[in-house]
Each structure stands twice: as C-alpha cells, then as structure tokens.
Amino acid sequence: MSSSVAQRRSKGLIWFTTSFVVLWIFIAAGPFLWTVWGSFKVQPDFFSKTDWRNALYGVMTTAETGSAFTGGGYYGAWVEQEFWRNTINTGIVVFFTVVISLTFGTLGGYALARSGFRYAFWLLMAGLVFRAMPHITLVSGYLLPFFEWNVWGKLSTTIIVLVAINQPFTLWMLHSFFLNIPKDMDESAMVDGCTRFQAFRYVIIPVMWPGVITTGLFSFLLAYNDFAVTAVLLSSENQTMVPRIYSFLGTVRETGDVMFAVAAVVSAMVPLFFLVLFFQRQIVSGLTAGAVKG
C-alpha cells in the first residue's frame, strides 16, 4: 500500500506535515503538562513574574520547602479543604447517572429502533431539540418547584435531573446502534415463542454491549463534566468536584492559595486521562458514529 503512487511524497512535504503535527501536539498537550508539572510547585513559581523557568526548576519551591517538588497544593486541597468529599459525591452522581441512563436508554432506544410508526420519529425529533438546548435554561425551571417540595440540594435530585438531560443523547445513540442489529434476530426468537421482552432479554442484551459501552462513556463525560446543573442544584455540602473547583476560585484567591485550586484541577483531570487512555477507540467510534454514516 505504501508503494502506491497516491502515497508517495516528497521530503519537504514530510518535513512540513511532521512539524505541523508536532506543533499541534504541543498546543493540545502543552497546557496540561505545564499545569500538572506546576501543581507540584509553590505559587510564586507557578505564577512567576520574574522568570517563567522558575516553574520548571522550582527555584522558589526549593527556597520555601527545601525540595524542588511539593505536595502542598494537594495537601491543602484534599485535607484542609476536604476535596475528597467532593470526589465521593462525583463518584456517586456519575455512577448512578450512567447506570440509570443506560437502563432507560437501552429499553427506549430498542423500542425506537424497532418501531416504524410516525410517533417514534417525533420522539426522536423532540430528543434532538432537547439535546440542543443549553442545560442552564432548564435549570431555572427546576429551582422553584424543588424549593417548594424541599428536594433541592440533594444528590438524588441531581442524579435524576442529569439522567433526564442525558436521555435524548442516549436514545439517539442507542437507537442508531440497535438499527444495526439485524431485525431477524429478535423476530426469529419471537417466532419461536418468545415475548418481545424475552427476545430483548435473551437475544439482544448479549450482543448490545459494544454500543452500550460507547454510549456509557459519553454519559459518563456528561455527568462528570457538568457544571451548569450541579452548580445550581447542589447545596454546598453535597457539591461535586467541578462546582467545588468553581467555589475554590472565589475563596482561595482571598486566602492566596491558588495552588489548592491548581491541585484540585489536576486531580479532577486524572480520571479523564485514564478514560481516554483505555477507551480511545470507543470514544473515536462514538464521535464519528453520527457523522460518517450520513
């Protein structure tokens, strides 16, 4: 394949494309590397007015703590500011959001894929509109009723809201995935005497996992990355990581411990890093699923 005419290219072109890719990698990854490295320094190093190289070598860090690296930011964030509580909250919210979204979504997506009636189409269209709406527009509708019923600020309320906001996307994704599973499979099971649910349970569920995992990854990202819903709907003791980092920005700047926020930001990035590392192929296929097929 590499010997075909279309693939042959000149030295200059190889040089150009390679440097372009290197530049792109630098732009894409540079900020992350810089912040991860800098999170182990003290504030005068990471935000150094005199010389940016201070952040590389940790000049002030060595002067203040005696070593070129310090876990001071992490200690401040996790122990003093009790960031671990927010981590646990995020874990709870994300886990239940993903599990419930996928349960509802597989049932609904399967039904939509197997029903040729007009209302199935209208449901999908409504889903598309719901999906495009900024989440914050819905949030203002939740607040008054939630105050009235006294359910504001609880993790369970937020989970249900995130599940609902997630549904349009989950339905669309799983619907197009179930369309690719041949109809004959479950229909032949039904000819053999299964009910529709039995056909779903014994024929479809065993083969649906690739699609469910891909959809689950995106549900995870939605719940994990959400700021608009969690910032407004959670009381301060139930905050998840992202709104907590936001409230760090206000309090921490006053006390001069920006490094707490930097450490918290790096901590919150770690799970995402591993997610991409292990599920890169699924993420790529999920992103392109809607596009390449048309």
Binding site: L107, P134, L143, V242
Partner: protein, 343 residues
Amino acid sequence: MKHRTFFWFILPSLAAMFFFIALPIVSVAVQSLFVEHEQIMTEVENCGPFKCETVLQVDTEATAALQEEAPLGRFNGLGTYTNRKHLAFKEVGVAWDETETLGEFMSELINLPFYKALFFTLTYTAVVTPFVIFLGLGVALAVNTLPRIVKGPTIFVSLLPMIVTPLIGALILFWMVDADGIIGATLQRIFNDPNLSLKASTPLTWMMLIVYGIWSSTPFSFIVFYAGLQTVPSETLEAAKIDGASRWQAIRYVVVPYMMPLVVFITLMQLMDNFRVFEPIISFSASAKATSLSWIIFNDLRGGDIQLFGSAGATSILTILGVAILLSPVLIRTWRDFNRKRA
C-alpha cells in the same frame, strides 16, 4: 412492534424526559411572566439620645410572609421580556431615533445586556466555527500521513482538550495567560509593558475566549475528518494522480468533496455547542467584558442575594427560541429523509 409493547419499553425514558425537560420548560415559561415581590417597607421611629427620626425599613417578616403566600412573585405579563435587561424595546427605540448612522446605533445597542451577550455569542460562533473546520481538516490530513505506530498516541493527545471538563480546560488556559502566568508574563516582557493584562481589554478578552473555543473544539472536527479520510477510496486518488493532478489538486478536487457532508455535520454541532458558550466565561472571569445568554441566566440564579427567577426565565425562553431557529434546517431535512425512507 405493537403500540402497547412500545409504550412499556419507552415509558421510563419518556417519563424522565417529560418530567425533567418538558415540564421545566413550561415552568420556565410561567416563571418568566412573574417578577419578584417588592420588599415591604415600614416606617420605624429611631430614637437616639437627642432626637427621634422616622426611617423606612424593610419589613422582613411581612416580605417573607408574602413570599410564602405567592412564591412565584407578582404577575408581570410580558414586562420582563421587554425591560432593559432583555429585549429592551424602549431603549432600542430611543437609540434608533437618536443615532444617525448604523454604526452608532450598534454601539448603543451592545451596551444593553441582552444584545451585548447575543453579540458576543454570535461573534464567538462565527469565528470559532470556520477555524475549527480548517484546523481540524489540516490536522487530520497531516496525521493521516504519519506512520501507523505514532497515529494512536497522536490521537490520544489530540482528544484531551475536548474530553477534559470545559471549566477545567478553560481554567488551565486562563492560568497560563493570566498576568502572572507563563504566556501573560512573557507577553508583558515582549511588549515591555508591566501593566499589560489580557483581562483588562475587551478585544483581548474576546480573543482569549475564542482561542479557548478553537483549542477545545478542534479535536472533534479532527476526529470526524480523520475518520472520513479513511473512507476516501484510494483508487480515485490514484486515478487523479495518474491524470496529472498535483497533491494540492488531489486534495482540493477529490478529498474535499468527500468531506463536504462532514463539514455540514461539524458546522451544525459547532453552532449548537458554541451557542451555549458558558464555562470559559466563568473560568476566565471575563463577565465584565464578554457575556453570553447562558451566563446571564446563571448570573440571575447565582449572582446576587435574591434569585431573579422571572429574569432568568425570560432569558431562558429567548435562548430556547434561538436554538429552535438554529435547528430548524436540520429538523426540516431529517423530516424529509424520514418521509423518503418510508415511501
């Protein structure tokens, strides 16, 4: 599938969407017709050691009782929509009458909060979307020429700006361009201006936000284009080469036409995403220079001591209308496709 079975399968999902998406929209619409109660004032006699004077004071108890009785507030009709904070009909009319040129009128207009936000949102969308498409296509073409062994790691790194939480990604960039950060401090040294701050000037703030937008959205278009490139048949490319097409011509006349449906897809996704630009404004603390509709809603709910439900509701409804207008071409197209498939 029978109607009954369909109903039971879809029920949980439908119930969730009905109660937490459809009903809240109704609730937002109702809220937008009301405004907060005025605080009830009472006259209190304040007696100091020398003289007594009457002052007006907020009657907290009575205000709370009123709030309890009618939590929605006072009925205001469409008043909230037309007031200065939203569509500002009166102010726009005045500006229209008093200004001579269109330019003057526009500069009056963007002083009004709603139009200011709309103006930023539209500029952001209009600048970020083309950049994202061209940059993404460029990166995809370049990565496609790499040897197989480095492709995987390159894609891994490229995904990071998009996958990472928007609030966090924007914060990371903000810390770098802030006056004390690596880029901010270096710029100060280059221009020899110790007071240079990207935060202090409106054009620079907008540029920062747009740079963040391009940085965080390019991975998406890169991935989509990259996947699309794998479907371009190599026979066609080879035939073009044999017919004497240069590399550039092959890209221009063979690859790009293959990519056109993807360009449409990416543009639509970008329009939707950029229309709700919100987190970077929070992270860059840029709200004095640049606001968006989503930020206005958030600020009404979280900004002050009193939550302005009416105001937030009105902005939400206007935003939803904007999204509906933006989406209408897609909806019409999907409707046609659906009918064609059925026929």
